[in-house]
């Protein structure tokens, strides 16, 4: 489908233009989610898109599905309720690095542990953008933020490793620079039965790039291009060559019992009693 048709089919045109800053990568992620949904031919009437608070939290408002903009950090907990109550729905969670790794961190690891069939897309711009530039659990060491004026001394999470360890059965990382790959990764995540997790490296030129002297949006996209290493290439590189870089592509895939199916199994077994 051409962009114009995609927009017409899946977006609430009257809600555009969006509120994100000029140069923000969030629109590219939302566009990729729409293309992935279209690629997987999801029934729009059976698809719920759920978010928390922050710049990412506004994404569902622009798309023509059942959409739910919840409280800060809780998107996955609301999504668990929606999915368990009505397992036939496709449930997609759009969240940010602060929303899902800080205030929502507990819900993230437990959603992964349950392997509930929800697709989670993290808009990781390394910063709290909506509140104008505080450090998040993904802000790299010694980067600047309004709440880290002398450099961030926190160590950051590797969210993909975290959710893999917690039990997610599909884990991938992409960037907004590598858009085609990103669409594919999200589409795979949607197709996968179980908890799917896609971390998307995006850029916040307004509150992260400017303060950390990373240039404008184009410079930040180039930074993504230069620092992303595809998973196959990374496998051949010695650790020192990977220092300061990040790996993109499908990072983990496994099979495991899916939560709502497990619950249905209990219901069915009781029926037979």
């Amino acid at each position: 489908m051409a962009t114009k048709e995609l927009l017409k089919e899946y977006t609430r045109m009257d809600k555009l233009p969006h509120i994100w800053c000029p140069g923000c990568g969030h629109g590219i992620i939302l566009g990729s989610v729409i293309r992935a949904i279209d690629r997987q031919k999801l029934d729009p009437n059976k698809t719920s898109v759920i978010s928390g608070i922050g710049c990412s939290g506004r994404a569902p408002g622009y798309v023509k599905f059942d959409t739910l903009h919840t409280t800060h950090g809780r998107a996955l907990a609301f999504a668990t309720g929606v999915k368990l109550a009505r397992p036939e729905l496709n449930v997609i969670v759009l969240t940010g690095d602060g929303d899902c790794a800080a205030i929502g961190g507990n819900h993230l690891i437990h959603a992964a542990r349950r392997n509930i069939d929800v697709t989670t897309v993290v808009f990781n711009n390394y910063i709290y953008g909506m509140t104008s530039g505080q450090y998040s659990p993904l802000t790299p060491h010694m980067k600047l933020a309004t709440t880290a004026p002398y450099g961030n001394i926190d160590q950051s999470f590797d969210l993909c490793k975290l959710v893999t360890a917690a039990g997610a059965t599909y884990v991938a990382r992409g960037t907004v620079y590598h858009t085609q790959m990103l669409i594919g990764l999200i589409a795979e995540g949607i197709a996968h039965k179980g908890f799917s997790f896609i971390e998307v490296i995006t850029h916040c030129p307004t509150y992260y790039g400017r303060r950390n002297k990373m240039g404008d949006a184009v410079d930040m996209l180039n930074w993504q291009k230069e620092h992303a290493i595809p998973v196959k290439a990374a496998a051949k590189l010695p650790p020192e060559k990977l220092k300061g870089k990040f790996v993109i592509g499908e990072l983990h895939r496994s099979e495991g019992p899916e939560y709502t199916e497990e619950y249905q199994r209990i219901i069915d077994s009781l029926k037979r009693e």
Binding site: S48, G61, D66, L68, A77, F78, G81, K83, R86, N106
Partner: protein, 380 residues
């Protein structure tokens, strides 16, 4: 011995809450273990899958409330149960459900606080939290059972009010009612009313999810029914979308409050005993009202015309019942298991027409009939 008494079964208030929820048609429960409410979660963990419903133990209290709201949006009749510390944690998402008009039931089996307090001891110290626990102006409906039978019947009522008014309804139980066992009669089909949320009758393209219907309550579509609408905790207009306008806030907040306050006759439940000729009123709720009932009988044996006003609906507060009582009696006594929460409402509504005397215990014991009688004799 009546027929009903023959059919009575022994169960605890928490168990009766489970039975009531099942009769009301619950099909989703999310919770987190906390004393003294845990038997409700345990009961529903056993029973829900047997009727095709879903139970989930979430990672925390916050998540439980979120999952309940999510499930209710997907069409479920959803409930959670907790106690003091957990009730505190749920407050933000209770506010979300109030603002987004998601019907659900929150059971708070009150325990002694503040903080971890005395986990296995009773209290009535969450009365004000049930009204004002979440931030911002918001509607509140809360019911307080005084018996195991009422734990069952008010759980059904709580679901009905939630569905009818599209708002979270709080069942404010306590450790005494939750844990004590009494004989109760489980009503048969047809002996109780079940209400369900009003569905939109317009096609999806014409659906305005937050356009108030005749009762200020908007018809509610479920996620997955093809209406493809938006729900946000931001101040929204009738389309459900935020526009950042104060005037939308003014309209929404007033409507949320008004949808409850304009139909009080459907919500308020008050039990009155001996108020026809009472010269002194005891205003008590929950298990304290049981002591008060006995104390009133004892007082009447001594020739003191005492009466009982028992708010079953604690929020909205039955203001008129107090106003009428205050005009009639010479004194009002408010015994409660806190340092004076309901008393604030009674004092406000007595408007000086009758002096209000407090009787409070915060030593984890139920106020006794003798104590109330002594107070009656003291103020008479």
């Amino acid at each position: 011995m009546g027929k009903n008494e023959m059919e009575a079964v022994l169960m605890s208030g928490n168990e009766a809450c489970v039975e009531g929820a099942l009769l009301a048609g619950i099909n989703f429960f999310a919770g987190y273990p906390i004393t003294p409410s845990t038997e409700i979660a345990e009961g529903l963990a056993r029973r829900l899958p047997r009727v095709g419903g879903k139970f989930i133990q979430m990672e925390d209290e916050i998540a439980s409330m979120a999952a309940v709201a999510g499930a209710a949006l997907a069409g479920a009749k959803a409930m959670t149960a907790t106690s003091g510390p957990g009730f505190s944690l749920k407050q933000e998402n209770i506010g979300f459900a109030a603002a987004t008009e998601i019907p659900c039931v929150v059971v708070n089996v009150q325990r002694f606080g503040p903080s971890t307090g005395l986990p296995t001891s009773p209290s009535q110290a969450d009365i004000m939290q049930a009204r004002w626990g979440t931030h911002g102006d918001h509607p509140a409906i809360a019911l307080m059972p005084a018996s195991v039978q009422e734990s069952l019947s008010l759980t059904i009522t709580a679901f009905n009010l939630a569905e009818e008014f599209r708002t979270p309804v709080i069942l404010l139980m306590d450790e005494i009612i939750g844990h004590m066992r009494e004989g109760i009669v489980i009503p048969q089909k047809g002996e109780y009313v079940i209400k369900n949320r009003t569905k939109p009758t317009v096609p999806p393209e014409d659906y305005l999810p937050y356009a108030a219907g005749p009762n200020e309550v908007p018809p509610m579509a479920n996620f997955g029914d093809g209406y493809r609408f938006h729900v946000t905790g931001l101040i929204h207009d009738e389309t459900g979308f935020p526009r950042g306008r104060g005037s939308d806030g003014d309209y929404l907040v007033r409507r949320l409050i008004n949808k409850v306050m304009s139909r009080l006759e459907e919500i308020l439940m008050v039990e009155e005993i001996g108020m026809e000729d009472a010269e002194l009123a005891v205003v008590a709720c929950g298990p304290v009202a049981r002591s008060a009932k006995k104390a009133i009988a004892m007082a009447r044996e001594l020739g003191i015309k005492a009466g009982l006003v028992r708010p079953i609906t604690i929020w909205p507060f039955p203001e008129d019942a107090i106003k009428v009582a205050a005009k009639k009696v010479d004194a009002i006594i408010v015994p409660e298991l806190n340092l004076g929460q309901m008393a604030l409402e009674v004092e406000r509504n007595a408007c000086g027409d009758a002096p209000v005397y407090r009787l409070n215990r915060v030593d984890a014991e139920l106020i006794t009939p003798d104590e109330i009688l002594a107070k009656i004799q003291e103020v008479k």
